[in-house]
């Protein structure tokens, strides 16, 4: 385990203080944060104790579906059906699925460009997502957003943002609007470890705390900002402690364990809903694939390191083993879930392949609300200065 980025972070003796959430209730502390490193059992913590076997299987299935979808998308990329970047979430599934599973009606989600996992977790379907990757008209953004820009406002999902850290003020604004409209909601704003070094994040933390906004910043610390390890990109440790300068509650937790993710999010949501307070949650996780799938992957980390995670920390394996041990899932169910996910992923690739590309005229749609709604036009004059002939 030498050299694995979160070894240091999860070292219990060194990091005890780091995991204690400021202002959290004394009795919650031990239960909600991984003081005892990643082996601590959260299956019976408050956020998880009422989960039925069915709920648990459902969580498992959601993670499996994300993985199978992305594996299928990787094949499509290699076959040349998908262009540009493809930032896969494989290895991090427990973070999105665990987080989103805690959300209520007025809770919202926004994230960066590694967004397929969050999109599927909020309930977007394989077909619209795969078709978007293929650049097809039937894609969730009609082929105009691509891998990095999935959106589903009807599911409280606000993207999918390609500029590192660029979504951090937007998440703040979503929380602002919720508070302005007197909703007891929150915005989960996901970001990477590398994104913590963007200035707007700190401007946002200041405002979040100053104005008591219900935004939850979730740093998915997968150890790397592209090919730059955390130890080479960030001073000060852990990253979440940066919230302390703004009097924001923060914590570090183990993102390989979906139970722990759920408990961490649950605490932050309580704080957002009941006290309108922001949080900074650092959730330690790992990505298996290159930064984008075409990126070299051996220049900054070893094969052994990746293997180590796959073997010992894989969130799907860990959860499946737990479910088996708890007697909540059968071998048959496991197989059925896997086959269904693979089948649906295959079908989505076929759907995407068979779907038409957008028509050239669609280049000019969706730029302005006004030009899309000519019946309600209020402006005059020329809006576009070069259009397809």
């Amino acid at each position: 385990m030498e050299g694995l980025h979160h070894d240091t972070i999860l070292e219990p003796s060194a990091k005890d203080s780091a995991k204690i959430k400021k202002e959290s209730n004394e009795e919650e502390k031990g239960e909600t944060h991984s003081d005892q490193a990643d082996s601590m059992d959260f299956s019976t913590s408050t956020a998880n104790q009422s989960l039925s076997a069915e709920d648990k299987v459902d969580l498992y299935e959601k993670m499996v579906r994300i993985r199978r979808f992305e594996e299928r998308s990787l094949r499509s990329y290699q076959q040349g059906h998908i262009g540009g970047f493809l930032h896969l979430y494989i290895g991090q599934e427990a973070v999105a699925v665990g987080s989103v599973s805690m959300l209520g009606e007025d809770d919202h989600v926004i994230t960066a460009y590694r967004d397929h996992g969050h999109a599927l977790a909020v309930g977007m379907d394989f077909d619209e997502c795969m078709a978007e990757l293929y650049g097809k008209k039937t894609g969730c953004s009609k082929g105009k957003g691509g891998s990095m820009h999935f959106f589903a406002p009807d599911k409280n999902y606000w993207g999918g943002h390609g500029i590192v850290g660029g979504q951090t003020p937007l998440g703040l604004g979503i929380a602002f609007a919720l508070k302005y409209n007197k909703k007891k909601g929150s915005c989960l704003c996901f970001m990477g470890d590398g994104a913590t070094n963007q200035g707007p994040f700190y401007e946002s933390l200041n405002l979040a705390s100053l104005w008591n906004l219900p935004v939850v910043y979730i740093i998915e610390n997968n150890g790397y900002s592209m090919g730059t390890a955390e130890s080479r990109h960030s001073a000060g440790d852990p990253l979440a402690r940066r919230g302390e300068a703004f009097d924001i509650d923060w914590s570090v937790s183990n993102g390989h364990d979906i139970y722990e993710v759920r408990q961490t999010i649950s605490d932050a949501l309580t704080s957002a809903h009941e006290k309108c307070r922001p949080s900074v949650l650092e959730i330690v996780t790992y990505r298996y694939r290159g930064h984008s799938v075409a990126d070299p992957d051996q220049t900054y980390r070893s094969k052994e390191e990746i293997e180590e995670y796959k073997t010992n920390k894989d969130p799907l394996n860990l959860f499946r083993e737990k479910l088996i041990k708890e007697g909540n899932i059968s071998e048959d169910q496991i197989k059925t879930i896997d086959n269904r996910a693979k089948g649906d992923a295959e079908a989505s690739a076929e759907f995407a392949d068979a779907s038409p590309y957008p028509d050239p005229s669609e280049l000019m749609d969706d730029i302005y609300w006004e030009t899309d709604n000519p019946g309600e036009k209020t402006s005059e004059g020329t809006m576009f200065f070069e259009t397809p002939s």
């Binding site: 730029i367 209020t378 005059e380």
Partner: protein
């Protein structure tokens, strides 16, 4: 109709729209307690409270982005920049997020937001505080851009911008803030975006301008008429994007000679696009090459002695106009 200043006109527009629509808020540095760096929002905190008129820290990226996020959720924030020059630290939020979110979501989202504030040189504050980014903004599909030059336009167009369902950049001018003119007090007085205005009719030549250059151009037009017996038409663009191309082509076809005046820098400035449109759509109507006067192509100078030369002034515009006749 009362005679009020450009500043009061903006205040009326903001106040009326805040009253009219609960989704409208004004936020920015010093807009509330301090009463506005240029006193545009004077009295609004008292009238509407701190929930609607919101002082922010000096964090343009965060409060611009916050406002974009809130607009995605259906609010209608008006973001004040103390100077448009400061938008550069929020560039990503305006030019990526506000401008592109609709497109990248395939039309699922719209961003009804206004970014406003002064965008002008001429006040001896040096290069960092004198930017005129209307050309940058207009170069970005997804954004709308207006440069009101009169008190009535300031009110009518800001109100239109706030009611607009797309992001609108409103570029004002500190030098015009004290200008007085008649402004309708009808709370539904609206001037649509994209509609240019002929401020003076003429038949021998047209001067096309926007922002404060409109007023310098009017002075030149009067000089030309009185001293040189040339009848000059002055067209105020008012809105940069959308642009009233029809009005431009119409006046060129009428006068056959055109001078473009702007306080923006020349390279890829707004008038570069307008010159292209004229030669493309009215080439055969031109009796002389299109002429152009813009800010002198250097970072904005601090010294009065230099900045007065830099910004198109009466005599430089007049000299260029004389080349046309």
């Amino acid at each position: 109709m009362a005679k009020i200043t450009y500043r009061e006109a903006l205040n009326q527009a903001l106040s009326e729209e805040i009253k009219r629509d609960n989704n409208v808020v004004l936020m920015g540095e010093e807009v509330a307690q301090f009463k506005g760096s240029y006193k545009v929002s004077e009295g609004m905190l008292e009238k509407f409270g701190a929930e609607r008129v919101i002082d922010t820290p000096i964090s343009e990226a965060a409060f611009s982005g916050l406002a974009v996020g809130a607009a995605m959720m259906g609010m209608r924030p008006v973001v004040e920049f103390m100077f448009w020059s400061f938008c550069y630290v929020a560039f990503d939020q305006i030019f990526n997020n506000a401008a592109s979110v609709r497109y990248m979501s395939g039309g699922l989202i719209n961003v009804p937001i206004v970014f406003r504030g002064p965008a002008n040189g001429g006040t001896n504050v040096g290069a960092t505080h004198s930017h005129t980014p209307e050309n940058f903004a207009a170069n970005t599909p997804g954004l709308k851009v207006i440069c009101p030059a009169t008190p009535a336009d300031a009110k009518g167009m800001l109100k239109a911008a706030i009611r607009d369902n797309d992001p609108v950049c409103v570029m004002e001018n500190t030098i015009l803030y004290n200008m007085q003119d008649e402004v309708p007090d009808d709370p539904d007085f609206i001037i649509p975006l994209g509609k240019a205005n002929i401020l003076k009719e003429g038949k021998d030549m047209t001067i096309i301008a926007h922002g404060k250059a409109v007023h310098t151009s009017l002075e030149v037009a009067h000089t030309l008429e009185e001293k040189h017996n040339v009848s000059v038409e002055v067209l105020d663009l008012r809105s940069i994007r959308p642009l009233d191309v029809d009005a431009i082509i119409k006046t060129v076809k009428k006068t056959n000679r055109v001078l473009l005046v702007e306080e923006n820098k020349p390279f890829c400035g707004v008038d570069a696009q307008i010159a292209f449109l004229i030669q493309d759509q009215a080439f055969d109507y031109l009796d002389a090459p299109i002429k152009r006067v813009s800010a002198i192509d250097a970072p904005q100078a601090y010294s009065k002695a230099l900045e007065n030369i830099q910004i198109p002034a009466h005599d430089r515009i007049l000299a260029k106009a004389m080349e046309l006749i």
